[in-house]
């Protein structure tokens, strides 16, 4: 609340707003109420009779106005005679404790308001003392805490260093409340910039405080916006990709004071710039979302650094860069392609991925009724019985491609199993077009229909009229930035290339995608507009792609395609790589953040499933952590009980550098699986991001706990305000309201208005 308003309020209403907020309104009339009401009526009678007698000069409206003004003035006087007052609880001096929490994190060193935020703390709590501390000490026993990544009791400001690498506000409130739980606590006062970066929700902490009636008063230090600053607020990158994949990373850039200016965003991999692009910063308050495209070429854990060169007058330079750890895998991923008839798609898809060491497309092709051919199988027994009939057999693949094979070929269990392959196992499903695919293959209403991103129309294929259209393909706006459709060096070049490609054909008319699905390519031609050519959606844990065309090989064979052109190969490789990019293994390990601080506790979580991808709770799971120094330590992981198949162990890094976590799961003496993940232990940098004073968060904390929000300008009233609380040892004070200046002004104003009106109407 603005100080001017508060002062004006106090002048008119005698007390500060906080008294009204905390007080209970009562009447304490020394005389019976009916007596006072009678006196009021008696006082009102003479002027009423007088006004009614004046005929001719006054209209009925004039009479009503004059009578009303007089009645209101008399009513206010009668109200005052009823002796209105506020009953408000106030603390008993020196019988209550007040917790003072001071933010000791690094962001308090930011100089954004002519002085460092920490200077304000020193001014208030330094050895010279301050009015604030004096007034608080007069009323309360004070207990001081410093907080950043941890919470400490402190005796003086000398113990503050403002070097904490994290701000954990919720944790600080919890600890202070717990430490002061045995004493009469009048409230907590938090001096902070509110730049909480713990990632934890404050809701639980606030609920605890509210249920115990402990108000939290917050003092927001710093500015809510910086004058001149550029910040990479977020980088959205995949955690793991296959070697040689094209990666699309979303980078969010916020700024203040640089509208319309162009900056250069660079991406480095081990000091080598892999991408560089100019970014024009948007209007003030808007965030620029930039898509960065590059190819990952070297296997292993790669630390990609996204950075913008600091401008000369920037307030915080450290927030111009962010690092992302991406695991580049060099392994061969198996994909099953089941084709219901000999088709050239098989030949050209095999050729497209032949040189890709990371993709193994195993093909099962029906060449005649009950006759199958197998290509690129790993061993003689693979798919020897035809299409898989068990989860174990199907779920060994990371993706399934369904060609022109009718739904009736499968048993219902197989159709259901394919749906579960996507939803439960998290596998990728790619459905191609063809005379026996999609609606024309009788898939409407089957379990596979449920997982498809497209709406199947009534089948059009019959003996007399067979749907066929040649389609010129067009990128959708979403497709322009999607990794699957990047077939040239840049998004712009890709869009150009798509426009040049020859038409491909479809026998499956599809024009609608399901809610939540995304369309990357559409096609028009032969009187058809905007047919769906490439669309996908997430279903359960997996991805499903519909590509209802029958001859993508035209992009390889057509006479307009130069022999050296790699569009067909690039498209298929990227499509398949993307399809399997988030498919889980039987054993999956993760940590909450890929960058943690030394001595910062982190939790390794592993999900273990069997070969049918059913959760396993009785596995022996061990995490082998290799430190940057090369030392390896083994940690037994325990089943969490709350979640099936989930195992956890806590780990505290002791040195900076890259940590490898290899998790091995065994069951009944046999290996279930092994997985490897990485994280980086380094100085946390969160304090430099989102470091503006967050008044909205601090207001919320205050409002939801019954406290108030202050700034350095308004904090002088804090000692008085915190007196009014029901928390701790309190007494009730009575505050008279009849003598508020507003009452006097109101009565005088009403009488003066009545007199003025009479004069205006010629009665005076």
């Amino acid at each position: 609340m603005a100080p001017l308003f508060e002062n004006a309020f106090e002048f008119l209403f005698k007390y500060r707003p906080v008294v009204f907020e905390n007080g209970r309104f009562v009447f304490n009339a020394p005389w019976p109420v009916f007596l006072l009401l009678g006196i009021g009526l008696v006082l009102l009678l003479p002027p009423l009779v007088g006004y009614l007698r004046v005929r001719g000069k006054l209209s009925k409206l004039d009479t009503a106005v004059l009578t009303g003004l007089r009645a209101t003035a008399i009513g206010v006087v009668v109200l005052c005679l009823l002796h209105p007052m506020l009953i408000v609880a106030t603390v008993v001096p020196q019988e209550n404790y007040l917790g003072i929490l001071i933010d000791d994190s690094r962001s308090m060193q930011i100089v954004d308001d002519e002085q460092a935020r920490s200077e304000f703390i020193y001014e208030q709590f330094g050895p010279e003392g301050s009015d604030l501390v004096t007034q608080l000490s007069d009323r309360f026993k004070l207990r001081f805490f410093s907080f950043a990544e941890s919470v400490e009791r402190i005796a003086s400001s000398d113990e503050l260093s403002f070097t904490g690498s994290l701000t954990k506000l919720g944790h600080a409130l919890d600890r202070a409340r717990a430490e002061l739980s045995t004493v009469p606590l009048a409230g907590l006062v938090v001096f902070t910039d509110g730049a909480d970066n713990s990632g934890a929700s404050l809701t639980e902490s606030m609920l605890q405080l509210r249920s115990r009636g402990v108000p939290v008063h917050t003092v927001g230090i710093g500015r809510e916006t910086f004058d001149r600053d550029i910040e990479i607020t977020r980088v959205e990158a995949p955690r793991a990709v296959l070697e040689g994949s094209a990666v699309v990373v979303d980078v969010m850039i916020a700024h203040s004071g640089y509208s319309g200016e162009t900056v250069q965003l660079n991406v480095e991999d081990g000091g080598r710039i892999v991408s560089s692009q100019d970014v024009e910063l948007p209007r003030e308050g808007e965030i620029a979302t930039v898509q960065v495209h590059f190819e990952v070429t070297d296997p292993g854990p790669r630390l990609f650094r996204f950075h913008i060169l600091p401008e000369p007058d920037e307030l915080v330079e450290e927030n111009n860069q962010r690092e992302v750890l991406v695991l580049v895998r060099d392994r061969r991923e198996k994909i099953l392609y089941f084709e219901g008839e000999p088709r050239f798609e098989v030949k050209f898809l095999r050729r497209a991925v032949a040189d890709d060491d990371n993709l193994q497309v195993v093909i099962l092709q029906r060449t005649a009724e009950n006759k199958f051919a197998r290509y690129d199988v790993e061993h003689q027994d693979e798919l020897a019985g035809g299409f898989p009939t068990t989860r174990e057999e199907l779920f060994q693949y990371r993706a399934l491609i369904l060609g022109s094979v009718e739904a009736s070929f499968f048993t219902h269990d197989q159709l259901q199993m394919i749906a579960e392959f996507v939803g439960q196992r998290g596998g990728g499903l790619l459905v191609l077009g063809g005379r026996n695919a999609l609606a024309e293959g009788g898939y409407a209403g089957t379990p596979i229909d449920n997982v498809l991103p497209v709406v199947l129309q009534a089948p059009t294929d019959n003996d007399t009229a067979r749907f066929f259209a040649e389609l010129d393909v067009e990128l959708t706006p979403f497709g322009q930035s999607h990794p699957v459709t990047q077939i040239a060096a840049s998004p712009a070049a890709s869009a150009e290339r798509w426009a040049e490609l020859p038409a491909i054909s479809t026998v499956n008319p599809i024009f609608e995608v399901k809610p939540g699905a995304s369309t990357l390519l559409t096609g028009s031609g032969d009187g058809i507009e905007d047919a769906v050519v490439l669309a996908f959606q997430r279903f359960g844990k997996g991805r499903v792609v519909a590509f209802p065309v029958q001859d993508s090989w035209i992009w390889q064979m057509h006479a307009d395609i130069p022999l050296e052109d790699m569009t067909h190969e690039t498209f298929w490789r990227q499509l398949l790589r993307w399809l399997i990019s988030s498919v889980p293994d039987q054993v999956m390990a993760s940590i909450p953040k890929d960058r943690v601080g030394v001595e910062e506790r982190t939790t390794i979580t592993t999900e273990v499933t069997d070969s049918a991808f059913l959760k396993v709770n009785d596995a022996d799971v061990t995490a082998y952590v290799t430190m940057p120094s090369g030392e390896e330590r083994a940690f037994a992981m325990e089943w969490t009980v709350e979640e099936d198949g989930e195992y956890q162990v806590d780990f505290v890094p002791e040195e900076n550098g890259l940590y490898e976590i290899r998790v091995a799961a065994d069951r009944d003496g046999e290996s279930v699986g092994v997985t490897t993940t990485y994280f980086q232990a380094a100085e946390p940098v969160e304090e430099y991001f989102g470091a503006q004073m967050r008044s909205s968060l601090l207001r919320r904390v205050a409002d939801e706990t019954g406290g108030r929000f202050y700034t350095p300008e308004t904090v002088a009233t804090l000692p008085e305000d915190v007196r009014y609380t029901e928390s701790g040892s309190t007494v009730y004070e009575e505050k008279d309201l009849w003598d508020m200046p507003i009452v006097f002004f109101l009565v005088v104003g009403l009488v003066a208005t009545e007199w003025g009106f009479r004069r205006y109407r010629g009665l005076v």
């Binding site: 098989v346 290509y375 066929f468 064979m557 057509h558």
Partner: protein
């Protein structure tokens, strides 16, 4: 999971398939071509619904020095159509039922990744045809050569194909090559005689002296088969006269088997 197909299936083709069709002569391709099918209304409709099929038995129209007629069109189109009838019955390939001749210098050639050419002993390719066939093969097209005999015709073909693919060599296709098990298991290369020799029932070769059938090919640098060469044999005649009781089923059976294998292989490798 391959099933061995019984030879009786091939007899069925002859008995119930094109045996029901009527063949006559047409001038659609000029002096080229032999017997044309006389089609009824439904067949004409099917012939017109050409677009959107998966497979077209595409015959290469090439320049040559045939005296009476263009050598590319020997057995055309009856052999093509009869063979397609068998392909459609024996496999589940979505094959267009009729012939599909395309010039080698036609850019549309690259829309048909399977190509059949015969009588290449009389082939004399123009520069445009050389370029068209070369780009076709290097882009991923698959060429089957049939019905040329003896050394002089071999030399002519070898010269022509060396113009098209000078950097690749012609080599023997071994009997354990996947081509020979792509659909049927083939363990012997038979010499398929032309109709006259088959009807006579004597020798099967058209060479001056006895010659053996040879299966050769041209592989790309990834060891993928681009060209299959059937030398000293005449698969086309076996397809063309399969419905005739005097044509020995032994040869038509083999010709269909090898033909189907070449198509299935060409569509998957």
């Amino acid at each position: 999971m391959k099933l061995r197909q019984r030879p009786a299936i091939l007899l069925l083709i002859g008995a119930t398939g094109m045996g029901a069709s009527v063949w006559g002569f047409s001038t659609e391709y000029g002096s080229a071509g032999g017997q044309q099918p006389v089609l009824n209304g439904t067949q004409l409709e099917a012939r017109d619904s050409k677009r959107g099929r998966e497979f077209y038995f595409t015959r290469a129209m090439y320049s040559g020095y045939g005296r009476r007629y263009a050598s590319w069109s020997v057995d055309f189109p009856k052999a093509d159509v009869q063979f397609l009838f068998g392909v459609r019955r024996l496999t589940n390939i979505d094959a267009y039922e009729f012939e599909n001749p395309v010039r080698l210098d036609d850019p549309n050639l690259r829309r048909f990744p399977f190509l059949y050419a015969l009588e290449v002993g009389r082939m004399a390719l123009s520069p445009a045809e050389i370029q068209g066939l070369r780009s076709y093969l290097l882009a991923g097209g698959f060429l089957v050569i049939d019905d040329f005999w003896d050394m002089d015709q071999w030399q002519n073909f070898e010269y022509e194909i060396s113009q098209v693919l000078p950097e690749y060599r012609i080599v023997d296709i071994p009997m354990d090559h996947p081509l020979l098990s792509a659909f049927y298991e083939i363990d012997e290369i038979l010499q398929v005689p032309n109709r006259s020799l088959a009807a006579a029932g004597g020798r099967t070769w058209e060479c001056w002296t006895r010659c053996d059938p040879v299966l050769r090919g041209i592989f790309d640098e990834h060891n993928r088969l681009m060209v299959v060469i059937n030398w000293n044999t005449d698969l086309g005649d076996a397809w063309e006269w399969v419905e005739q009781p005097w044509y020995p089923w032994k040869y038509s059976n083999f010709a269909y088997k090898l033909g189907v294998n070449m198509i299935v292989y060409g569509m998957s490798h």
